[in-house]
Symmetry: C2
Amino acid sequence: MKISEIGEFGLIDMIAGMIAGHRDEAAESSKRLIMGIGDDAALWKGSERTQVATTDTLVEGVHFSLKFCDWESLGWKALAVNLSDIAAMGAHPLYALVSLSLPGDVLVQDVASFYKGMLDLCSKSGTTIAGGNCSSSNKVVITLAVVGEVDAGRTLLRSGAEPGDVVAMTGFTGLSAAGLKRLQSKGRNNARNRAEIAGGGRESESLLEEAFLRPRPRLKEAQFLAGKGVKAAIDVSDGLLKDLGHICESSKVSTEVNTGSVPVHPLLKEYSGRNALKLALGGGEDYELVFTASKKTLSKVKEGIGCPVTVIGKVTGKSEAGKLIIRDEKGKVVSPGKYGWEHFKQS
Amino acid sequence: MKISEIGEFGLIDMIAGMIAGHRDEAAESSKRLIMGIGDDAALWKGSERTQVATTDTLVEGVHFSLKFCDWESLGWKALAVNLSDIAAMGAHPLYALVSLSLPGDVLVQDVASFYKGMLDLCSKSGTTIAGGNCSSSNKVVITLAVVGEVDAGRTLLRSGAEPGDVVAMTGFTGLSAAGLKRLQSKGRNNARNRAEIAGGGRESESLLEEAFLRPRPRLKEAQFLAGKGVKAAIDVSDGLLKDLGHICESSKVSTEVNTGSVPVHPLLKEYSGRNALKLALGGGEDYELVFTASKKTLSKVKEGIGCPVTVIGKVTGKSEAGKLIIRDEKGKVVSPGKYGWEHFKQS
């Protein structure tokens, strides 16, 4: 059945039912919720902690294609990209507001799958969907806003890097960009069969696709970093070098990265060959964390964070405009080239 | 210059500059802001008051057309429709997050006008733009999320209506729907000339258009209602009868409306003739408030609210599913017909 057949209010009823049925009474966000879907706005009990809020949008044909992205993954990812911004502040998420703009011929079951994917990640992250909005459009446009909290003084800021810090990152980058390429080359059938592939013992093969479709926001790891005294971090959405550049600008520091130290995942090497390092440095949407810390803090971090942490460079000094120097494995300074991705700009 | 020429980060720099230049240091939201645009998420000082949050979207070709809606009005309206939801809870707004999806050929000056319109209403309402997101798309899609606060026990809920209450409304409805028709019939030239028309002594003529383009969210009036003990309210976004129907459903009450009591603005009569009452009952996007209150509370409300308040009906009893009975000026029960507007549904 198409959503044009049940209408806006029929759709909202279905969504409200799914969210109510999924509510985790034990979660802090659930306990504090006073009014979820069903009034003009959501209400919850406030706190004097520092409040954090972010918004991010996925546009059909720009951020994803329904030819290779299934609706359940889309729901997961729409929330994940927002949670990653909450993580990058060292905060924990509480509430999500979901704005869906959809063509009338979208199937009701696809919207249900979308919410299933989102609610899955809600459970894993303690997030409650507190409200939203449905409207019609010619393409799918999904905007989430997520509100959360963090203790004052435990925030991770782009502006917190200090000369003498090392630059480190969690996990691996470039997998998402490689996954996107793989999905694009496989085309439409993939969206239908992805669930079976993932469940059929071919998990290692689908790891690249999962990196693109179901990124894992580093919430716990970021809170762990903040707890150990890390002050500066960003999540990798635009690309490792580009996002590290934002830290340099905001912190007014110069930083050196040694590309030979950037970890390249074996699967990325296998799939992308000579392009692997380029993807690791410039491919976006990995939602790993890049951060800076004193060597002492870093050694504390490495114990117990529960994910790979790799030192990739150092903060060398102050720089009013911010400066990022890239050296290859032989120590030679190289041009950043065109890493990262920017909206609107014709290149 | 097109936004494709300055790119996402150039656009964000311009927007951040406009917002910084416009910051009202005296506003509570400004005092509590710790981090606005420039990090992964916004940060502000929390409070133990009840938190309120809403989101609403405007889609080109669905909610507006650039043929007759100028960018400054669009900015105003995008914020206004969200503030109206905050008002409908009796709350005051604090922060807005702005997600813009734009085609690359949109002019930079149009985005500046859009923010000018939004910042205008920010000043009037004490709202601070704390963050947002820019991405490319084939049509303009604007989603705002607004966060605010309200004292516990001073909220206006859809579920607060009681048998014996009167049903009342602020101002006039139907003007926005008539304004939209007028704009559609005038077409493209209007967007260019609207500012001149409004400034050229023909203000009374452009009142209908203003109702559509620059709705005034009833923030102060709603807070006044809540302060006087009103418990149930909704803002008129879908249409007077349709939105009153939501109060009936949420409060589980039956309500009677006398269409002869619904105020019809003289300009609406002049422009829409025999259709005036139909527009007043069913036309959406007026952002007036419909509320219920005891007669005693209503008499307190009428003194000092500073806008017209008209009794249009009464809450007659309990009703599990909610029931809305419409009587014409002779007291005869009439069918609601097809008032209001719904997304997706083919009618």
